[in-house]
């Protein structure tokens, strides 16, 4: 019997189409895997076995009736807990939303349902997506399947770990400053942050509205493209959604898999290398660049001088928007309500609830954002940050004059130890150095595994960035690199990950 959990989503779709298996069988296999390993990994905050199996049975019925909803009909998926799911708890990794069950679906979740993908459950994350390690989850950290003592990246460590640990073939993530790509890099998986406005944000509990995007978290580039085509495209409920058809993403991934990059200009960003970058990560990155050259690509060096200000810009814009977004968690309409004393006023209940319900990192960023927006500081901080965004966007424009895609290591280091940076916010923030510029400019980016760093044997990733609306370039180049690496390795990188056998396996 095949182990369905080891297959890619594309392979599962083919097996379903060939009648080799059923959605119920595949879904059950993943639920069994979750039961076996999630005690150690803790990728999930909520598993909906009953719902997933019911949806799988419906998919099988559709297949029998010849009324399939999509190519991925019947392939199960995990959803980051920051996306509203009608009837399923949605906590955003926060105590303040413990037990909240939304009465509506996020648009991307609705599209999953409309495409027939059974939803396995909700994945762990840093509280309100604030973090790069998933340690800021109020429900406990997620562990990296490559080394359970290490972080799986963040904020979407749950989705990346679920996919890396074969608990789900597909997952949804969200990326505000790297929360899809950086966990992808440190868990040896693939993650794509679409062009801002390319995927609906309706139902995504906003961290920083002008930076957030929903995207696919998978084990292969093709799987990401398949999922992206399910969730992407215009949504009238999101005013910032782009009213244009998606470029052909799956076609681009298939084209890239042929391995030919002739005529493609690859720009290496000068500013995203140097001190503080782990040598093993840089070695794997250089190898990847060399493989792309071998596939026919031309390499150019590009400079993006304003990128040095990206981190500071990000840590002004994000807390400012977040401080306002999180004001709604006030104990009045939903979520936690804490009474400091009997007969307390609404205002006192709000203060006590927000103190008890938010974790340290959330409080830090709310205070910082409140400061940045305060009268007297707005121009110096938030206003200035919005201007620096323009400079960063101009750097991208100039770079894309010279290159079709830009590349860099996704994250400066491999996965660090749990707890190592927990109380050093600045050190934690530096993880997102390479991923943040894309969010500030709204351009798409994919992270593809580049191999294992020599010094620690842990996965590293390459990030491929493209101009806005040209997500297809990420998929084409990403698939080409993936194919070249696979040829070199002889087997998927994740085959080298240690086996995770839980007590019930």
């Amino acid at each position: 019997m095949s182990d369905w959990t080891r297959k890619t989503a594309a392979e599962l779709a083919d097996a379903l189409a060939a009648g080799e298996t059923t959605s119920v069988e595949i879904t059950q296999a993943h639920l069994d895997r979750i039961a076996a390993v999630d005690g150690a990994v803790h990728a999930f905050l909520h598993v909906d076995a009953e719902g997933a199996l019911a949806q799988a049975a419906e998919s099988d019925a559709r297949r029998a009736a010849g009324t399939l909803l999509s190519v991925l009909d019947g392939v199960p998926i995990a959803v980051k807990d920051v996306l509203a799911t009608n009837g399923l708890p949605t906590t955003c990794g926060s105590k303040i939303l413990e037990g909240w069950v939304p009465p509506y679906d996020a648009t991307v979740v609705r599209r999953l349902r409309e495409a027939g993908l059974p939803i396995l459950g909700k994945t762990n994350m840093d509280e309100f997506a604030m973090g790069s390690s998933t340690e800021h989850s109020a429900y406990g950290a997620t562990h990296n399947p490559w080394d359970l003592d290490r972080i799986p990246g963040g904020s979407g460590g749950g989705s990346a770990a679920a996919v890396a640990a074969f608990e789900a073939p597909l997952a949804l993530g969200t990326d505000t400053g790297g929360s899809i790509r950086q966990p992808g890099a440190v868990t040896g998986t693939v993650g794509h942050k679409p062009t801002y406005g390319g995927v609906s944000r309706y139902g995504l509990v906003a961290l920083a509205n002008s930076l957030d995007q929903v995207g696919p978290v998978t084990r292969t580039v093709l799987d990401s493209a398949l999922l992206h085509e399910v969730i992407g495209g215009h949504d009238p409920l999101d005013s910032t959604s782009i009213d244009q058809p998606l470029p052909p993403l799956v076609d681009a991934a298939k084209q890239g898999a042929d391995g030919d990059l002739t005529g493609v200009r690859i720009g290496v960003i000068t500013e995203l290398a140097g001190d503080g970058w782990q040598p093993g990560v840089m070695t794997r990155f250089q190898e990847s660049v060399d493989l792309m050259v071998a596939a026919g690509a031309e390499v150019v060096e590009v400079s993006c001088p304003s990128f040095v200000h990206a981190l500071a810009t990000y840590y002004l814009i994000l807390p400012a928007e977040a401080s306002s977004n999180l004001a709604k968690f006030d104990a009045m309409r939903y979520g936690l309500r804490v009474w400091p004393e009997e007969g307390a006023s609404a205002e006192e209940v709000m203060r006590a609830t927000r103190d008890a319900g938010f974790g340290d990192e959330v409080k830090r960023r709310i205070i910082l954002g409140t400061y940045a927006l305060s009268s007297g500081y707005y121009d110096a901080y938030y206003g200035q940050a919005q201007k620096v965004r323009t400079l960063i966007a101009r750097d991208f424009e100039a770079a894309f004059e010279k290159a079709d895609v830009l590349v860099s290591p996704t994250a400066p280091t491999t996965a660090f130890k749990l707890g190592e940076k927990l109380d050093d916010p600045i050190a934690m923030y530096l993880n997102d150095l390479a991923t943040i510029p894309a969010n500030l400019a709204g351009v798409p980016g994919i992270s593809v595994p580049s191999g294992l760093a020599d010094e620690d044997g842990l996965p590293a990733g390459v990030q491929i960035l493209a101009p806005a609306l040209a997500d297809d370039r990420c998929y084409r180049v990403g698939a080409a690199l993936e194919a070249a690496l696979l040829k070199q390795w002889g087997a998927p990188l994740l085959d080298k990950a240690p086996a995770l056998e839980g007590p019930s396996a």
């Binding site: 996020a106 005013s239 306002s324 004001a327 006030d330 009045m332 927006l373 707005y378 938030y382």
Partner: protein, 497 residues
Amino acid sequence: MSDTLIAFDDVLASYDPAMGLEVHVELNTLTKMFCGCPTEFGAAPNTQVCPTCLGLPGAMPVVNRKAVESAIRIGLALNCDIAEWCRFARKNYFYPDMPKNFQTSQYDEPICFDGYMDVDVDGETFRVEIERAHMEEDTGKSLHVGGATGRIHGADHSLVDYNRAGIPLIEIVTKPILGTGAKAPEVARAYVAQLRDLIVALDVSDARMDQGSIRADVNLSLSPKGSGVLGTRTETKNVNSLRSVERAVRYEMSRHAAVLGSGQKILQETRHWHEDTGVTTSGREKSDAEDYRYFPEPDLVPVAPSREWVEELRGTLPENPTARRARLQAEWGFSDLEMRDTVGAGALNVIEQTIAAGTSPQAARKWWLGELARRANEQGLLVDALPVTPADVARVQALVDEGSLNDKLARQVFDGLFAGEGTPDEVVAARGLAIVSDEGALSTAVDNAIAANPDVADKIRDGKVAAAGALIGAVMKEMRGQADAGRVRELILEKLQ
């Protein structure tokens, strides 16, 4: 605790008032500002809500095109410039009836700015300059439970209904209104009244002050007479009738003067108007801690009305009510007093329609401001709510003009119309009210009257024509009023001279 007040005339001896008016207009769009929920007044609690207007995590706003159009039309009617590009902004503050704990509003980029309205008070015109008109959303409504009065103070807890949350509002803000002196209260009232008329003419709001669809906040400060230095202002909220606007300004002027006169300072604060007692009470003190942390709403994109769109909307504007009044007064030849009475009685539209149906302006005015205004007053109605249409009045006057009715008979026709007896012609027929123009019957009646009053007849023969009145009365009595008194007089004089 009641405030010390200073007599109004004494206030003016020492101070110049400066006013600012902020009027919130609730639009009559079918749906809310940022979501497709209905806006009907009076629905059961929390039945007109969705994730967006409830502020549920993840929900997002989308702007109602009709609300933007209404905002632009209001701006154009107030002679404002319309922004070529503007954004929504978040106004951040915590309050339980505000679902997101920020209000989506506009900050330094209002859609309409720099306008004016000319306000008439007793024939004098004051130009009220408009600073801005911007779009925003309303809050939910709280019901306070457990207090003695149903008021917020002393309440045990509150119950919130979010049906109203997200209903589109246009906030219209004036620049400081200076130089109105003793007329400040009347100018404030007239401004709000004219603004309401404009809103009604634009058909962008129900414009019901009693239901809160127009709400006024009154800012007031006093400066020492002639100094030109603006004093500390107070903002009086909850002023929800035209009369209250006038009274609140008068009250705050007197209160400010008393405070200043005693050597104390005016506290910059929000005050609440109490309709029942006619006083303001202290609300929240405006402190430096009040910091709304405005920033552009990142979930919405800018509104950039094309000039074509703006001109298209300009083409839909009704005539400005003030200009319309001036035009009609000239066309009708009404005196200032007649025109003021007409407007005051709310009879402008019905008179215009009656004239359009062929009646002379003076006749139309005579009926609507005389007989019909009297009946409306008796019934506590406005003239346009009476069961008589301008077409009815025009027909009655036409019958008078052609000699079929006299004024006394016409009043009886109105009795019939009020009693629901049909059209004027049907009432005339059913009640037999037409003037008798049968010369034979009339001649007989005149002969009878002469025979019955020989001494009166002699006086007339002697040239005392004034005595004819007694004979006319006798003839009319015999004819039961259905005769043309002029013709009766002619016949009497023919027979006796």
